[in-house]
C-alpha cells in the first residue's frame, strides 16, 4: 500500500470560520484598509453572514493555473470566494543566504534565478547596487547594451504573460503563439549571451561580452515580426466578447488600496497611477529615450492585460531607439580591480594573470556601505538592498521582489468573485514564484 504523505502548513493555513476571531475574518476580507468603524462592522456582519456553510478549498501548490508553486486556500460559499489566503514558500531557495556566500562576480548567477521570466532585471539590479557601492562609472556602451537586453527581456516576459494569461482564461492557442514570439527573442539571447535563460550576462562593471556582429539585423528582424502578431492577439483576445466578459470588472482595485498594499508595476498602473521607475526615477540611460507609460483606468484584469500588451509595443519603440543610438566603446569598465582582463592578455602579462586569479577566486573587495537600488521590472519595482562589510562577498543581499508584494492584493481582489475569476486574477498579477519565495 502506498503511504500518502500529509502536507499541512499548520498555522500558515486558512483556519475554518468557526476557529477564526472576528478581527481575522475582517482582515481576510481585505477590509484592513482604514475602513471606518461602521463600515468595518458591516463588513464583519457580511463576512459572518448567513447560516450557509462555507467550504475550504485548497488550490495548489501543484495546480495548472497557479503560475508556479502557489498555494491558495479559498473559503467558498457556493462558488463565491469569501476569504483567501496565499501560502507561499514552496520555492524558497535560500538565495539571500547563498548570496552571502558568493562573491560579487558570482552574485548575478544567484539573483538571476529569482525572477526567471525576466532574468536580466535581477542581474541588473544587483550589479547597479554593487557598482553604487564600488563607486565605478559604467561606460555608455555597457549601459545601452544593458538597456537593450532588459527591454527585449521585458517583451519576452510580457509575451509569456500573454501566453499564460490566454491559456488560463481558455484561449489555449495563445499559449502556442506567445511562445512562438518568445522563442525569437530567446534565440537572440542565446546568440549574444550563450544561454536562453538565466544568463549572468550583466555583471558588475558592465556586461560579460560585447554584442556579436550583425546584432542590429537580428533585432530589427524581431521588431519586424512582432507588431503584426500583436495585432493578431488584439483581434484574438481584446475584441472578443467572451474575453471582455471574463476580464472586465474582475479583480478591481483602487489606487489607494494598491499603494497601501505596496503594489507596483502593471498592478499599480492599472489603477490609474502613472508610476514607472524608468520615467519617474530614471536609471541607466532612460532619460535619453522617448517612450510612454501605459496606464489603465479601472484596475481590473482587463486593464492589466491591456497594459502589458501595450508595454510590448512601447518596449519595441525603445529598442528601435537603442538600435539607432547605441554608442561605440567599451562594454565593461576598464578598472583592473573589478573587471577581469581579456583572455589574450593573460598570456602576455603577469599582472593580468594575477588580477584574473584574484578576481575569480577571492573576488574583488567592495567598500563598506549600504545601498538600495531599484529598477522597473515587468512585474513592478525590483529592488536590491546590499550591505557590504568591505570584504569580497556581500554581507547582506536582499532583493525586493515585486511579486512578493503584489500578492498581498490577491485576497482583496478575489473577495466576492467566483473561482473562475480567481484564476483570472492570479494570472493578471503575473506572479513569478521564484522572486516571491527567493
Amino acid at each position: 500500500m502506498t503511504h500518502v504523505v500529509q502536507t499541512s502548513e499548520g498555522a500558515q493555513e486558512l483556519a475554518p470560520r468557526d476557529r477564526s476571531s472576528e478581527r481575522e475574518l475582517l482582515l481576510e476580507t481585505g477590509a484592513v484598509l482604514r475602513m471606518s468603524e461602521a463600515d468595518a462592522a458591516a463588513a464583519i456582519a457580511e463576512a459572518v453572514g448567513t447560516d450557509d456553510e462555507t467550504f475550504l478549498l485548497n488550490m495548489g501548490p501543484q495546480h495548472p493555473s497557479t503560475h508556479g508553486v502557489l498555494r491558495l486556500m479559498l473559503e467558498l460559499r457556493g462558488e463565491t470566494v469569501l476569504r483567501t489566503k496565499p501560502i507561499i514558500g514552496y520555492l524558497h531557495t535560500g538565495m539571500e543566504k547563498t548570496g552571502e556566500d558568493l562573491t560579487y562576480l558570482q552574485g548575478p548567477t544567484n539573483t538571476t534565478r529569482m525572477d526567471y521570466a525576466s532574468p536580466f532585471f535581477n542581474e541588473l539590479v544587483f550589479c547597479l547596487a554593487t557598482e553604487a557601492l564600488l563607486g565605478v562609472e559604467i561606460p555608455p556602451r555597457a549601459t545601452w547594451i544593458r538597456m537593450l537586453m532588459c527591454e527585449l527581456n521585458r517583451m519576452a516576459s510580457h509575451l509569456l504573460f500573454l501566453a499564460t494569461n490566454g491559456m488560463d482564461l481558455g484561449a489555449v492557442s495563445m499559449m502556442l503563439y506567445g511562445w512562438r514570439e518568445r522563442d525569437l527573442v530567446m534565440q537572440f539571447f542565446e546568440k549574444v549571451t550563450g544561454l536562453r535563460m538565466n544568463h549572468e550576462y550583466i555583471r558588475p562593471g558592465g556586461v560579460a561580452v560585447d554584442l556579436p556582429d550583425g546584432w542590429r539585423d537580428d533585432v530589427l528582424n524581431i521588431l519586424d515580426v512582432i507588431p503584426g502578431r500583436l495585432d493578431e492577439y488584439d483581434q484574438l483576445m481584446t475584441g472578443q466578447p467572451i474575453w471582455r466578459d471574463r476580464t472586465q470588472g474582475v479583480g478591481a482595485i483602487t489606487p489607494e488600496e494598491a499603494v497601501a498594499l505596496s503594489a507596483t508595476g502593471p498592478v499599480l498602473r492599472s489603477t490609474g497611477l502613472a508610476w514607472d521607475l524608468r520615467r519617474d526615477m530614471p536609471y541607466l540611460a532612460y532619460e535619453e529615450l522617448e517612450f510612454d507609460v501605459v496606464v489603465g483606468t479601472y484596475g481590473d484584469v482587463f486593464d492589466r492585460y491591456a497594459i502589458r500588451l501595450n508595454e510590448v509595443r512601447e518596449s519595441m519603440r525603445i529598442v528601435r531607439q537603442i538600435v539607432d543610438k547605441m554608442p561605440p566603446g567599451d562594454y565593461r569598465v576598464q578598472d583592473k580591480k573589478v573587471t577581469p582582463p581579456p583572455r589574450a592578455r593573460i598570456d602576455e602579462s603577469m599582472e593580468a594573470l594575477i588580477h584574473h586569479f584574484k578576481i575569480f577566486t577571492e573576488g574583488f573587495r567592495v567598500p563598506e556601505g549600504e545601498v538600495y537600488v531599484a529598477v522597473e521590472s515587468p512585474r513592478g519595482e525590483l529592488g536590491c538592498y546590499l550591505v557590504s562589510d568591505g570584504s569580497a562577498k556581500p554581507y547582506r543581499m536582499h532583493i525586493r521582489g515585486p511579486s512578493f508584494y503584489n500578492m498581498q492584493t490577491m485576497p482583496h481582489m478575489l473577495h466576492g468573485g467566483l473561482i473562475a475569476d480567481a484564476v483570472a486574477v492570479i494570472s493578471s498579477l503575473d506572479p513569478i514564484m521564484g522572486e516571491v519565495d527567493r
Binding site: 500500500m1 502506498t2 503511504h3 500518502v4 504523505v5 500529509q6 502536507t7 502548513e9 501548490p61 501543484q62 495546480h63 495548472p64 508556479g68 508553486v69 514558500g89 514552496y90 520555492l91 524558497h92 531557495t93 535560500g94 538565495m95 543566504k97 547563498t98 548567477t109 544567484n110 534565478r113 526567471y116 521570466a117 509569456l160 499559449m175 502556442l176 503563439y177 511562445w179 512562438r180 518568445r182 522563442d183 530567446m186 536562453r196 535563460m197 538565466n198 514564484m433 521564484g434 519565495d437
Partner: protein, 194 residues
C-alpha cells in the same frame, strides 16, 4: 501458488510464457505506452519555462504524443520534475508521485532537481532522487528544449526495450522504492498457460 504463478506475479510482462501472440502483445503495449506518455504538470521554477517552450510550437512535443500536460496525477504517466524542490515542497512532490498510477516514470529536469544544482544549502533538497525514483536525469540550468527532448526520447527508448519494467526490482533503484502487490489478492495473468 505454483512457481510459474509466482514468477508471473513478480516479473510482470516478461514473466509470461511467451508464444508468438503474447510476445507481440507485449510490444504493442510498450509501443502504446511510449507513444502517448502524459506528463503530470510539475513545473516548479525556471525549468518549467523551458518545459513549456519544449511543448510549444518551435520544439513541439506533440510529435511525440506528449503535448498534453495533465493536471491530475491520476491521469498521468510521467512526472517531469522541472525545477528546484524546496523543503516545503518535498512532501507535496511525494504525494503527487504516490497519487500517480502505475506505470509511472520520473524525469529529473535540470541540475536543481538532479542534485540540488547551484543551491547547496538548507532550503533545497539535494536531488529529487532522495524522494522519488528517477528514471532519466536531464542536466542543464535550465536544460534547453533539445536536452529535454533527448531525455524524453531516452525514456521512450527505455520503455521500448522494457528495461524500465524490470529495473526497479532488480536494482532497487531510487530510494529503495519497490512497487509491490497487495497481499491476499489474486493476480490475473495475460497469456496462454502451458
Amino acid at each position: 501458488m505454483s512457481d510459474r504463478e509466482e514468477q508471473g506475479l513478480t516479473a510482470g510482462l516478461a514473466g509470461l510464457q511467451h508464444n508468438f501472440l503474447t510476445g507481440t502483445l507485449e510490444d504493442v503495449v510498450k509501443w502504446a505506452r511510449r507513444n502517448s506518455v502524459f506528463s503530470a504538470q510539475f513545473g516548479l521554477a525556471c525549468c518549467a519555462i523551458e518545459m513549456m517552450a519544449t511543448g510549444a510550437a518551435h520544439y513541439d512535443l506533440a510529435r511525440f504524443g506528449m503535448e498534453v500536460f495533465r493536471g491530475s496525477p491520476r491521469q498521468a504517466d510521467l512526472m517531469i520534475v522541472a525545477g528546484r524542490v524546496s523543503q516545503k515542497m518535498a512532501p507535496v512532490l511525494r504525494q503527487i508521485y504516490d497519487q500517480m498510477t502505475e506505470p509511472k516514470w520520473v524525469i529529473s529536469m535540470g541540475v536543481c532537481a538532479s542534485s540540488g544544482g547551484m543551491f547547496n544549502n538548507y532550503a533545497i533538497v539535494q536531488g529529487v532522487d532522495q524522494i522519488v525514483p528517477v528514471d532519466v536525469y536531464a542536466p542543464g540550468c535550465p536544460p534547453g528544449p533539445m536536452t529535454l527532448l533527448h531525455a524524453i526520447l531516452t525514456l521512450h527508448e527505455q520503455i521500448r526495450t522494457g528495461e524500465i519494467t524490470q529495473r526497479r526490482k532488480e536494482t532497487g533503484a531510487g530510494a529503495g522504492v519497490h512497487v509491490g502487490s497487495p497481499e491476499g489478492r489474486v493476480q490475473v495473468h495475460v497469456g496462454t498457460p502451458r
